[in-house]
Symmetry: C2
Subunit: 176 residues, 2 copies
């Protein structure tokens, strides 16, 4: 490959990465669910998740993001319902740490969603250090988690009922 | 400015343009409304509009798009209702022809929304040639318009009632 071609390919990759960042600024979410789980030592767990939603007619960008990040999977938003929205989801911590977070550190978002990303990256890295395994550390991360995703106004705490396997939604005021 | 700095600025502009294109692929719309209007010679009119919606907490990208395109305006989606969504809107034909269309020709969309854009650009250019002022020409452009925005499944024809100033929504089957 000549240096011109190589330079062109680098520029093309940079444009593609910027395109993905722009798409994610609109359609993506850096979300940390706070779930009750009696099998965890503290009775609760943090579940960080990066996801991007789209109508299945326009799944091309989700495919592109999956290939570029080299991780995650595509799934229907609500199986069995009339909602056919497709969602690209990354939940594995190693993928969040080594692929998703470095990508968006190199491609910062323009909107205030960037603040969600910064909190998300903080939580995932502290979880990798094991901070969430101790009550004080968990509590700090939980507070950070509840301040993301729209400033907490629409934030709900999910509780998994071990008897029925249902997920029960509670507002923070009810749950804590 | 040194050649390195100039090259960096060009790359930065290219990245920004790609970012905007990615955002618009998710949140933007190239829409042509077909409206009844008795003051028009044919009784109907075509109203092309480029718009991008966003929650007001994340208006930064809308501001960026407005500055980059150098046209259009920001408005609330539904004045007076609880929906506070902000919308960046471009309706002036000269702005669509000289700013919006050239921008997205240089920054093609990845998803199938690109097909909507191509039809949109075709309609706006043919309207600039005056094709919509004659029955046959209008009919061809109307068919193209109705095939955009989700393949026509959710497409509605808007009729302006001159007595009440209300906009009445009709399905194509009712309207044509």
């Amino acid at each position: 490959m000549s240096s011109d071609n190589l330079s062109g390919a680098v520029n093309q990759q940079e444009r593609l990465d910027a395109y993905i960042a722009g798409f994610v600024d609109g359609e993506g979410s850096f979300h940390v669910a706070v779930q009750r789980n009696p099998t965890c030592k503290l009775g609760w767990q943090l579940l960080p998740e990066f996801h991007v939603s789209q109508h299945p007619d326009r799944r091309q960008v989700l495919d592109l993001i999956q290939v570029r990040l080299g991780c995650g999977r595509l799934q229907e938003n609500h199986r069995g319902s009339k909602d056919t929205t497709l969602v690209f989801v990354v939940r594995k911590r190693i993928d969040l740490l080594e692929r998703v977070i470095p990508f968006f550190e190199a491609q910062p978002l323009v909107s205030s969603k960037q603040e969600d990303f910064i909190r998300f990256a903080h939580i995932v890295r502290r979880m990798d250090d094991g901070q969430h395994l101790f009550a004080d550390g968990f509590d700090e991360l939980r507070r950070v988690a509840l301040s993301t995703n729209g400033g907490g106004r629409y934030r709900r705490v999910h509780r998994i009922d071990p008897e029925s396997s249902e997920t029960i939604r509670r507002t923070p005021a009810q749950g804590w």
